[in-house]
């Protein structure tokens, strides 16, 4: 990793760390920012499989649910601290990913079939947890309300979770940069561009796709554990196909794998803010308007700009910079 890679991460972290203070810790805005960070971390993790490896994975909700149930069950039954439960949840998620992913790559499922198999896994797990009364079941299982204790990681406000997610986001961004610069990263990009060609060049396609999947599943499982802490309960509806779709939509619109990795949190920030604005203003008359927006933006972006918005941001940034520099030059 180079120093130039760290600079934008440091700048972004500083900016995001100051945001809750900028809204004066207003509960509503902090909650909104927490969800934005939550989806940002998910999309950034998704970039490993969806962007670098180019596999349209729709199993994010499977890993979130598994992470949530692992952490939550350990916490409520055995009083195991989330500090241990969260990474264990990541491991369970990665284990499940290996279980489904190995044969999926072994039998060469690609494109639509991969997407269908992964979204099916979400529904399968949701129904299995609904029937499995010992752990899941149709009733919510609440996490212990031991607020303010570091051992339980439960807090009354959302600000602590915001900073936890910020730390995770930084780690996932660093992970992405590191992978992108490694041999694995170059191999994955080769697979993304042309799988057959990559295979002929001697890349073990299956191995590297599986590696990308496992990394992504582990991170997403950990985020799932944090999600359960924020929502405060466990329920089979945490295996939510819409979460999977949302992550993929944000990834595609953000141009995962094409441009800069920072395009993904930026896209999440923009789209989530607009959709929340729509929900809070028009949601009373038109329920689901904020979700309609997701559908519209995805279809429009894919039809008009199939490579996503990352390049648009860069051009915009370049233009703003040039204008500022010109003004400074003119003023001085």
């Amino acid at each position: 990793m180079r120093a130039s890679d760290l600079k934008p991460i440091v700048a972004l972290t500083a900016m995001l760390a100051a945001l809750p203070l900028a809204v004066r810790m207003n509960n509503y805005y902090v909650l909104l920012l927490t969800w934005i960070l939550y989806y940002s971390t998910l999309v950034t993790a998704w970039n490993v499989i969806g962007g670098l490896a180019g596999q349209l994975d729709l199993a994010a909700a499977s890993y979130i649910g598994l992470g949530a149930y692992t952490m939550g069950t350990l916490l409520t039954r055995l009083d195991v601290t989330p500090w241990v439960g969260i990474p264990l949840g990541g491991l369970v998620a990665a284990g499940f990913a290996a279980l489904v992913g190995y044969p999926t790559f072994r039998f060469g499922l690609k494109e639509a079939w991969y997407a269908l198999a992964t979204i099916s896994s979400v529904v399968v797990l949701q129904k299995l947890f609904l029937v499995w009364e010992g752990v899941g079941g149709p009733e919510e299982r609440y996490l212990p309300a031991r607020y303010g204790e570091l051992y339980y990681l439960r807090f009354r406000g959302y600000a602590p979770y915001y900073y936890i997610l910020l730390a995770v986001l930084v780690m996932v961004l660093l992970l992405n940069v590191k992978i992108r610069r490694s041999k694995t990263g170059y191999y994955l990009l080769a697979i993304r561009e042309n799988e057959e060609a990559a295979e002929i060049l001697g890349i073990d396609v299956r191995k590297y796709k599986l590696r990308a999947l496992l990394i992504y599943a582990f991170v997403t499982g950990c985020i799932g554990g944090i999600f359960a802490l924020i929502s405060g309960y466990l329920h089979p509806h945490h295996f939510d196909t819409w979460t999977s779709l949302q992550v993929a939509i944000l990834g595609i619109v953000g141009g995962a794998g094409v441009g800069s990795i920072y395009s993904l949190p930026a896209t999440t920030f923009i789209i989530y803010s607009i959709s929340e604005l729509l929900r809070s203003t028009l949601g009373g008359w038109i329920p689901g308007i904020h979700l309609i927006f997701y559908g519209v933006i995805l279809t429009v972006v894919v039809l008009l700009k199939p490579e996503g918005l990352s390049e648009t941001y860069e051009r915009l940034y370049g233009r703003i910079r040039a204008a500022l520099l010109r003004r400074r030059a003119g003023g001085g």
Binding site: G54, L56, V100, P103, T104, R106, F107, G108, L109, K110, E111, A112, W113, A115, L116, A117, I119, S120, S121, V123, V124, L125, Q126, K127, L128, L130, V131, T241, L245, A248, I249, I252, I286, P287, G288, I289, L291, I292, Y294, G295, V296, I297, L298, T299, V300, V302, L303, P306
Partner: protein, 287 residues
């Protein structure tokens, strides 16, 4: 137990026919133009709402609305084809998946906006009651739906094998370039296939509504069921789709009899993933 099994199996076979009809619309579109339509289930869901409203406002039985909904849906299919599908046919698959996922999210939430989350069922329907055959009770509505499904499939099969237009469709499906060289307007065939696929959905939706309710979420289930059948059938014509539908219906029946009805989707999708792994070309595919 045996009676329950028998009853569930009969239900499963009847449902299987309906599943097959819904999947046939998708199979036609996928077979002819290789398009990956994730919004298929949402098309079914919107058609079901259409049936509900037409039946309510014109005060006609839901089953009769198929005569109105099918042509409306044919036109709807052409419009969707022109607006979205035409631009993504033949482009790289991820763009197709993404664009139709966008369509799916859009339609699902438009339905939510228009009709809220509350389930809707027909107010008035002539297909009521049931016939008793020994230990098995067969609801008239399901029986009719199954018969209409099989009838529609036979009609489509005849169309594909005995008319010039049908043959042109199949030629396009087999080899797009060769068909184009022989003077078949491929784009028009695509539009026709998409419209026909949607019209079939319209017919199916009308008869599904006679025994089921609709809510904005029901699209997901119908979409995944259709995909299971299309994958199981492979690209092998109408009979493969029907057989796959029947298999799926019976698997569901067995699951309901011997395990928990709430887990039936889990079993069906596990089967789906399994088939994707071991027989990606389907059980009845010819290529």
């Amino acid at each position: 137990m045996l009676e329950l099994l028998l009853q569930n199996l009969v239900n499963g076979i009847l449902m299987g026919c309906v599943y097959a009809l819904v999947a046939l619309g998708l199979a036609l579109q996928f077979g002819v133009m290789d398009i990956i339509n994730f919004a298929h289930g949402e098309f079914v869901m919107i058609a079901m709402y259409l049936v509900f409203w037409i039946s309510l406002y014109l005060a006609i039985p839901g089953s009769l609305t198929s005569l109105i909904v099918a042509p409306i849906y044919f036109v709807f299919g052409l419009v969707v084809y022109k607006l979205v599908i035409d631009r993504i046919v033949g482009t790289y698959p991820l763009a197709q998946i993404a664009a139709t996922i966008g369509l799916m999210v859009l339609l699902r939430n438009l339905a939510l906006a228009a009709w809220r989350a509350q389930p809707r069922g027909l107010q008035y329907e002539v297909l009521r009651g049931s016939v008793t055959l020994g230990p098995v009770v067969v609801p008239i509505s399901r029986l009719t739906a199954a018969l209409v499904s099989v009838g529609t499939m036979l009609a489509l099969h005849w169309f594909l094998t005995h008319t010039r237009l049908g043959l042109a469709l199949r030629a396009t499906s087999d080899d797009m370039q060769a068909a184009s060289l022989l003077g078949i307007n491929v784009r028009r065939m695509f539009a026709l296939a998409f419209g026909l696929g949607c019209a079939i959905i319209g017919i199916a939706a009308a008869f599904i509504m006679t025994f089921q309710q609709v809510n904005p979420e029901s699209g997901l289930t119908w979409g995944l069921i259709s995909w299971i059948i299309v994958v199981m059938a492979g690209l092998g014509g109408v009979s493969g789709v029907l057989l796959s539908g029947l298999i799926l219906g019976m698997v569901e029946a067995l699951e309901i009899t011997f395990w928990d009805p709430r887990a039936s989707l889990a079993v069906m999708y596990s089967l789906f993933i399994l088939i994707l792994w071991v027989k990606p070309r389907g059980l009845f595919g010819r290529r």
